[in-house]
Amino acid sequence: MADLLGIATSGLGAIQQALSTAGHNIANVNTEGYSKQVADFSTLPAQRIGNSFLGSGVEVGSIRRSYDSFVVDELRTRSSKLGLATAYEAMASSVDSLVGDSDNGLAPALEGFFNAMQGVASDPSSLSARQILLSDAEILSDRFTQLNASLLSFEREANNRITSAVGEINGLANNLAELNSNIVLAQSSGASPNDLLDQRDSLLMQLSEKVGIISLEQTDGAVNVFLGKGQPLVIGGEAQNLVVTDSTLYPGRLEIGVARPGGFTDIISDQISGGELQGVLDFRSRILDPALSELGRVALGMTELVNAQHQLGVDLNGQLGGDFFSPISTSVLDSSANTGSATVSLSIDSASDLEASDYLMVYDGAQWDLTRTSDGVSSSGAGPFSLDGITVSIAGTPAAGDSYLLRPVYGAADGFGLQLIAPDQLAAAAPVLSSLALSNTGSADIADLKVTSTTGLPLAGDITLTYNPDALGAGIPGYDVSGGPGGTIAFNPATESGGKSVAFSGSGDLNFTLSGIPNSGDVITLSANSGAPGDNRNALLLAGMQSERLLNGSSSTFGEAYSGMIGGVGVSTRQAQANLQAEDSLMDSAVAARERVSGVNLEQEAAELVRLQQAYQAAAQLVAITDTLFQTLLNATRR
């Protein structure tokens, strides 16, 4: 009888525990990271009575988590990728909105500038047209600097995100280390500390959202955590904290590092893979740097090319044109870790051939290795290097491992500014004027007069071309040139009256076309042009630069180079959005997979409650029966 009561009470106890487990499940239905717990019943050891074993009741053998480590690992991987995609997309979208806002964009300002230049070309003597050009140029330079500053603000945002992510990672790592210790302690008793394990999984999830991790479970129950490429973060009960440190090369840029004994900091940014951190690092190198370089290339290209053309003109005061825009200096940055004494300098040869990229130069002890960062193309040698419209010269002695960052175009938009102060300094006129002598009896003509360099300008004196049927010897006709380069120009009216191109060397490297049928002694005079307010020839050339493909190896106009940058940002953002969407749905299915295994279903728990309640009622009935049996026995023996 006592056994029966024992069996009944064991049933009551076990069922109560199972009910509690179901209640725990119901209570935690909304707890993030909670895994459904299941109470496993098992029979108590049977008693041997005579020839048979008599069962002695039930107990809850274990309360286990409904858990699949493969599913959880997959979830963490997805979470890292989603963290990356989310951070990358968020930052890309902000840049996308910024550059897509046509009111703040460069395009209207570029159009305004060139339209104003056309205005000057139409009415070159009008001071007000010139003044409008200057103020439109101011607007253009404001747009350049503003756009540059707005883009640079994303560098700060990236720094902030890195700092706060590293802070969170350190906090999570410390918590993980502590939980590891607690779990090892709890597990030593043999029971599974389900809720602690859930908490740890939850921390690992949060951590993988910030940075990609690899977690390895140890036999004692602790989990060791490594960053993407093997950098340990948590080993048992110990956490290795990450630090944020200034980049040795890039000014104003933060990198992720690990403090080493002796006060050193190892930079491990390139070991990060996955998570918000990599999202931010990717954004910096794939969207921000290219956009700033592309913008800088337009700014530097315009400055160099417009200045060059402007210098080939003459202003209202008869002076040769100066710089229209302020010259922009390019930067070479030494790594703070350099130990050698080399000086690297950078000069622009051809603004048309510039690439929108930085260049990284590293000395390996024997030679230099120069890498274009936009596509990783590299060349090596002793230097100097000439490529992509720049020349890199090296002086002094480098040490192995020294590195330099060359930034021909990055950030150049910040230095974009107007150099011209007064409207009369605009060189709208061309420096050389041609005239035909009134005494000419033939039809000698000259056209397409163009200066192509500032060499020999302004002309020291008139250059006179006199037609002479025997200029180059008896019967070989041409022009005798006096002044300028001197000598003779072969010109045969019989075959070349339709036009012959002539190029001088020196004297502004003049190009022109001779035509017509001159008579002996006919004279064409080229003279210095000064103070001709109606001359718009240089203004026309300046205005024409708008539709000339002058950038990117002569394949884009200024406007196209800018719209190309916007297109680049748009494409990257679109990719980021598509990627985020894909990661989102992959994450959804990973979550669904985990929920299938570990999620709490209230209907299921309700059914469980009903089942357990019935079992409990039955076990309670067993107590009542035991009591009845006992009373029967008492009554039967009462005398």
């Binding site: 909304n30 459904k36 890309a92 996308d96 909105s97 897509g100 046509s102 395009a107 209207p108 159009e111 060139f114 339209n115 056309q118 205005g119 070309a121 139409s122 009415d123 003597s125 009008s126 006129a429 004027l433 041609s434 005239s435 035909l436 009134l438 005494s439 009896t441 042009n529 001709a532 307010p533 109606g534 001359d535 718009n536 026309l540 205005a543 024409g544 708008q546 539709s547 106009t557 196209e560 800018y562 719209s563 916007i566 297109g567 940002v569 748009g570 953002t573 679109r574 669904a592 929920e595 299938r596 570990s598 999620g599 709490v600 279903n601 209230l602 209907e603 299921q604 309700a606 059914a607």
Partner: protein, 400 residues
């Protein structure tokens, strides 16, 4: 398969959120009327829109330049029309004066009018536009191009020709230099000119001077001689480079030919009279007119003076005709530039229209599509919300 309660909730909510996002996007598109809100919506479309807008801005500027060019050309055409009228009036006056019924006195009156016309022409050559720039000064448009001092007119401009961009590759000249219009004018018939020596005493009158295309260019001196009063008048033509090319007895009205040049002299040239045939040179119109006015004011009563007067008138008329040719050439140039502007303007307008169409094709929203999309999305959202409420309302606990 078990689905956890939170998963059911999450799925229901995310379905609703997704529909909401789509709805908001459509709403934004409809509100702005633009398909592309940000470059990432359609990167290549966004780039296209920017490039098209630049084209539109450039074309707009070309159309503005077109208006400017028209104003300048109309002004120049007006001046040229005035100049042609002046020359035609002078021509009429000369023909009137050339008539032998006129006396020295009446010719003097005509000379006065010619001089007044010269001043009128000078004023036209110094025409300014609305901004005070001189039309015929070349690039030197803030300096008065023609000034007269002691009857001699001097040009102060240069030979620059201002051009204006009215199309991607279309530069239209909007000015002509004073040299080109008023100074670079050939004398005579354009190839040759004949002058009468002032010392001539006979009444030889130049009737005509012509040449075939293969004529030899040289300075020819035609001199008459008469051995005695009864001897026949003979002539000899000597080329400066070609030597003696013709000689013979002079017959009034017979042509004298040499080196493909044909010359007819009438009247009675005296012994020692000289005419010079030389290649045409350039002479500005003011000099031509001054010579004419001087001739009109000169003596014409004596036979020799009368012949010189008529010869001067003949040469003057030739020179005036060359100037008229030149003025008409300039006018027809202006006309063809204006035609050019018209056709370029049409091209620009068409291009602008096409570009605007292209922009709208890339950027503008298809409203019909968007609105039907909006209502479809609204229906989906409503359905998702209903399903969510339905599913959330079901619980076994309601029956316990």
């Amino acid at each position: 398969m078990t689905i956890s309660t939170t998963q059911i909730f999450r799925q229901g909510i995310s379905a609703i959120l997704e529909q909401q996002e789509g709805l908001t996007r459509t709403q934004l598109q409809i509100a702005s009327g633009q398909r592309i809100q940000r470059p990432s919506d359609d990167p290549s479309g966004a780039v296209k829109v920017i490039d098209i807008e630049e084209q539109i801005a450039v074309t707009d500027q070309h159309l503005r330049n077109d208006g400017f060019a028209r104003t300048e050309l109309f002004l120049e055409e007006g001046a040229m029309e005035g100049a042609v009228n002046v020359l035609q009036r002078v021509r009429e006056l000369m023909i009137q004066a050339n008539n032998d019924t006129q006396s020295e006195a009446t010719r003097g009156t005509i000379a006065t009018e010619v001089r007044a016309r010269v001043d009128e022409l000078l004023a036209l050559a110094n025409t300014r536009n609305a901004s005070g720039d001189y039309l015929f000064a070349g690039f030197n448009l803030d300096t008065q191009p023609f000034s007269s001092s002691g009857g001699v007119v001097t040009y102060h401009g240069d030979e620059g020709q201002r051009r204006i961009q009215v199309g991607p590759s279309s530069l239209i000249p909007v000015s002509d230099s004073g040299t080109d219009v008023f100074e670079r004018i050939k004398t005579g018939n354009g190839a040759l000119t004949i002058s009468t020596a002032t010392a001539n005493t006979g009444s030889g009158l130049v009737k005509s001077l012509s040449q075939s295309s293969s004529f030899t260019s040289d300075v020819y001196t035609l001199s008459f001689s008469q051995a005695s009063a009864t001897a026949p008048v003979t002539y000899a033509v000597n080329g400066a480079a070609t030597g003696l090319v013709a000689s013979g007895n002079y017959v009034s009205g017979d042509s004298i030919s040499f080196n493909s040049v044909e010359l007819v002299i009438e009247g009675e040239p005296a012994n020692g009279d000289v005419f010079t045939v030389s290649p045409s040179a350039q002479q500005d119109i003011f000099a031509t007119l001054a010579v004419i006015a001087d001739a009109l004011e000169g003596p014409s009563t004596e036979a020799a003076d009368n012949a010189k007067f008529h010869n001067a008138m003949g040469a003057g008329l030739n020179n005036i005709d060359r100037a008229l040719d030149n003025f008409l050439r300039v006018r027809s140039n202006i006309g063809s530039r204006l035609n050019n502007l018209d056709s370029q303007g049409d091209v620009n307008e068409n291009f602008l229209l096409r570009m605007k169409e292209a922009r709208s094709e890339v950027q503008d929203l298809d409203f019909a599509e968007a609105i039907s999309r909006l209502s479809a999305q609204a229906t989906s959202l409503e359905a998702a919300q209903k399903v969510f409420i339905e599913v959330q309302g079901l619980s076994l606990f309601d029956f316990l």
